[in-house]
């Protein structure tokens, strides 16, 4: 059972490799992209409601990108385990 945590740890350590890509995902562009490509920004995209993210795009201002990426990974893992821990307390047999 413990070995699944090794797998998780290895993948987490390698996570900053995900920063190598300078490219955004298709259809996850900045609004300026639409201005350049279309000459306008679709209204719905320009006026979209956005959640105020704690670590927008896995970054934290003032923090090195790699450190912020590790921090994001750890926060994500902690939240997931925390939620499952609570679910387990309530529901697990």
């Amino acid at each position: 059972m413990k070995k699944i945590y090794y797998l998780l740890a290895i993948v987490l350590v390698l996570a900053p490799l995900g920063l190598i890509s300078e490219y955004p995902a298709w259809a996850e562009w900045e609004n300026e992209y639409y201005q350049e490509a279309l000459g306008f920004i679709p209204q719905g995209i320009e006026n979209a409601f956005h959640v105020k993210a704690l670590l927008p795009d896995y970054t934290l201002s003032g923090l090195n990108d790699v450190v912020a990426y590790y921090l994001s990974g750890l926060i994500g893992i902690a939240l997931i385990f925390g939620i499952f821990y609570l679910l387990g307390k309530k529901f697990a047999r």
Binding site: I4, L7, V11, I20, S21, Y23, G44, I45, A53, Y58
Partner: protein, 216 residues
């Protein structure tokens, strides 16, 4: 593949939430049935693995990038409902804490990367599980089918929502662009990555007897 806020019309958002809600309720019941001392840490770990694996943005020719999802691995081991719910939880955290994928589009993303990927991956695996390459194919099919859902949801936007002057209100590019860009890139690149990840992780889990194997 995370659709941001503002890319889908309100009607699309409402329709996807309406479709996803009952599915989440059923999935939650299935998860409760499966949770016990052995499965809980493993299901939590696989969800965390899905979260981390989505951080590996892989650049591809053409100036875009993408990533694996990890839905197929959970679907193979714990069934499609549990997998879909785990991926939904990951997507919720990504949307709320990291602004990765929208909240209005959360249901759409969950239907694609959660439900579609998990059910298709699980179906494929159940049909060919005696084959050594079953996890690979299962991962590939799961992510490619989910990319079809995303491409369609994006591509229909200019058809269903335009301003008075004819400008698209939400996602502006139609199916002729979204299908080849989103589905094509997942068939050629990210599907392969998801397949390799699913294959390697499944092998690791079965070999080390972390879990008894397929729950089909």
């Amino acid at each position: 593949m995370h659709i941001p806020d503002g890319y889908l019309s309100p009607l699309t958002c409402i329709a996807t939430y309406a479709a996803a809600l009952p599915l989440w309720v059923i999935a939650f019941k299935k998860l409760k049935e499966q949770l016990d001392e052995t499965t809980l840490p493993l299901i939590a770990s696989l969800s965390a693995l899905s979260f981390i694996i989505m951080m590996f943005n892989i650049p591809i020719p053409g100036g875009t990038s993408g990533h694996a999802v990890g839905a197929a691995l959970i679907a193979i081991l714990f069934g499609p409902w549990v997998a879909a719910l785990c991926v939904s939880l990951v997507l919720l955290i990504q949307a709320l804490i990291f602004g990765d994928g929208g909240m209005t589009t959360f249901a759409a993303n969950a239907l694609a990367m959660g439900f579609m990927a998990s059910f298709c991956a699980h179906y494929v695996f159940s049909k060919m599980q005696t084959k050594a390459y079953a996890p690979f194919i299962s991962g590939w099919v799961g992510i490619v089918t989910s990319s079809i859902v995303v491409a369609i949801l994006l591509g229909i936007q200019p058809l269903i929502a335009t301003a008075a002057n004819g400008e698209p209100l939400y996602f502006p590019f139609g199916l002729a662009l979204s299908l080849p860009a989103v589905v094509g890139s997942h068939m050629l690149f990210f599907g392969i990555v998801e397949g390799i990840f699913t294959g390697l992780a499944y092998r690791y889990i079965v070999k080390n007897r972390i879990y008894k194997g397929a729950e089909v």
